[in-house]
């Protein structure tokens, strides 16, 4: 399933309608099936806005999102009928993206009952435990509430819940920025394993070029709602076009920089 974003613009109007925020300005790119696209940019450049639009949470002010060559609006009806949501979104903050009153088991069960409604009770349970174990959460923990888990565990649970919807494209909006470094590394490795296992397409958003480097095939650099750089990882690293990209690359710790040069050569 190929995803294409064409000339997307998003303008937020404040209540007074005097001040408007142009969060996205003419953003276009595409992602090939089974690949990982990294999106980097500083805080407030519109990464989350773009993620929400791609995931269908918000409508763009202008422009369109094409899924397998079809405009998202046109296939929305078809999607609703088949109860299929091929694009899922993992949120930045694992502390707020789970209902505090639902045990983890019930949070996943709710999704499984939509996307695997033909399963009987026993198979539903098996499926839930299978999803949880695929992200490394044991079944003995499944009847706990979200607040009884660490941030990293919660992010794993959120990932399992997204997988329950059998997505083809997963939008990851800074999935590790709320976690500390060692936990981040585990989550990123988990995501890479899952991507291979289910042949998923990722849109991996981060403000950290160092992390994006580990994961992506191609990369987008955003600045103030616009794309200033788009290309494969080696292209961008070897010949950055925009001044801002050059500064980002220079800011990657030098040791990392060396490693990239070795592998890139």
């Amino acid at each position: 399933m190929k995803l294409e974003v064409r000339n997307v613009t998003k303008v937020y109007e404040s209540n007074s309608k005097e001040r408007t925020v142009q969060a996205l300005n003419g953003v276009s790119f595409s992602v090939e099936e089974g690949s990982i696209l990294g999106i980097v940019g500083e805080s407030g450049c519109g990464k989350s806005t773009l993620s929400r639009i791609v995931a269908g949470l918000e409508e763009p002010t202008s422009g369109e999102v094409l899924i397998s060559g079809l405009p998202r609006k046109g296939i929305a009806k078809f999607i609703r009928k088949s109860s299929k949501r091929p694009i899922q979104l993992v949120f930045q903050d694992p502390y707020s993206s789970l209902n505090p009153r639902q045990t983890v088991y019930h949070a996943i069960e709710e999704v499984v009952k939509i996307y695997d409604h033909e399963l009987d009770a026993a198979d539903t349970q098996t499926r839930i435990f299978e999803l949880l174990s695929s992200v490394g959460i044991g079944k003995d923990l499944s009847h706990r509430y979200p607040h009884q888990f660490s941030g990293g565990q919660r992010q794993r649970i959120c990932i399992a819940r997204s997988l329950a919807a059998k997505p083809e494209i997963l939008v990851l909006d800074e999935p590790v920025s709320a976690l500390d470094v060692s936990v981040s590394a585990d989550i990123i490795n988990l995501l890479l394993d899952l991507q291979r296992e289910f042949n998923l397409t990722y849109i991996f958003v981060s403000h950290d070029l160092g992390i994006v480097k580990h994961v992506s095939d191609s990369i987008i650099v955003m600045l103030a709602g616009e794309i200033v750089e788009f290309g494969s990882w080696t292209q961008v690293m070897d010949s950055p076009k925009h001044e801002y990209t050059k500064r980002l690359i220079a800011a990657i710790p030098s040791l990392e920089n060396l490693k990239i040069k070795e592998t890139g050569a």
């Binding site: 929400r52 949470l57 899922q88 979104l89 707020s96 088991y105 607040h147």
Partner: protein
């Protein structure tokens, strides 16, 4: 394989709170008293006068003493508790159902519905509750049903307020948004993800409003606009006892204590509910 499910219901946690236990015990005793009055099983007829026993202090015959007409104060207190509870339960039922539905719908769907709902609540909040209740009661009538409807209308905006605000912020939370991305229907989001999260606030508000409604009903009766003599009502009894309390303290003690116990127990129950309904407040 079988997995131990966490099926402990919220009332398991409720009975871990001392306040909640004390509140529910007092409330149960008051409710038993109200049931006794409902089935006319009070020791004496609450309105029967006895010229031979005027203003008698508490004794084995009349445990709360008698009033200026020789009526048994204990029986009158039970009957007053029955009336107060009936009025407050019905009025709070009206207020909580109407108010919560309006608040949740207004908060979630926004637009014109929300504007109308909030403007009307604002108008109601501009007047003191007792004044609004007075105005409504004087146009409806003085039966207990009219009193309950009046108090119910007056308290509806409180429930609009306590539900609308949380829904407004809850619908922007990531877990409601993620529900939308995952393809949950609007009713599922409203009733499974939003309502349970405002329910604790509503339940606590119900307990508090019950105690306020008892006070409002008493206030109306005190002012002569609620229960009419010779029927018993806690507010009416307090009002009548004012002139007598200096030399017959028991005429004031019975109804006042019943009022205090009713109000305090409902507040304690409110505390217990708040603690038990919120998983993050429970000890693991």
């Amino acid at each position: 394989m079988k997995i131990k499910r966490e099926t402990k219901p919220w009332f398991y946690y409720y009975f871990k709170s001392l306040n909640g236990i004390i509140g529910i015990i007092i409330l149960s005793l008051l409710s038993i008293g109200a049931l006794v009055a409902l089935f006319h099983a009070t020791p004496y007829d609450p309105v029967a006068q006895d010229v031979a026993a005027i203003l008698k202090p508490p004794s084995g015959h009349h445990i709360f003493g008698t009033d200026q007409f020789g009526r048994d104060i204990f029986s009158r207190v039970l009957d007053g508790v029955r009336r107060s509870l009936a009025v407050s339960i019905l009025s709070v039922a009206i207020a909580s159902i109407a108010g919560s539905l309006l608040g949740v719908a207004g908060g979630y769907f926004g637009t014109i519905l929300d504007t109308i709902v909030t403007r009307m609540s604002d108008v109601f909040f501009a007047f003191p509750a007792i004044l609004m209740a007075l105005a409504i009661v004087s146009s409806l009538g003085h039966s207990w049903l009219d009193t309950a409807i009046a108090i119910g209308i007056v308290y509806t905006p409180i429930f609009v307020r306590v539900t609308r605000g949380p829904v407004l912020s809850l619908k922007e939370t990531d877990y409601v948004k993620s529900g939308r991305v995952l393809g949950f229907s609007t009713p599922r989001i409203l009733f499974k993800h939003l309502l349970p999260n405002v329910m604790p606030i509503v339940l606590v508000q119900i307990a508090l409003s019950l105690s306020w409604a008892i006070l409002t009903e008493s206030g109306l009766s005190f002012l002569g606009l609620g229960t009419q003599a010779p029927d018993a009502s806690l507010g009416l009894m307090v009002s009548e006892a004012q002139a007598l309390a200096a030399f017959a303290w028991w005429t004031l003690a019975g109804p006042s204590l019943a009022l205090i116990f009713a109000v305090v127990s409902l507040n304690l129950v409110g505390d217990g509910l708040r603690d038990s309904l919120d998983p993050t407040r429970r000890s693991i």
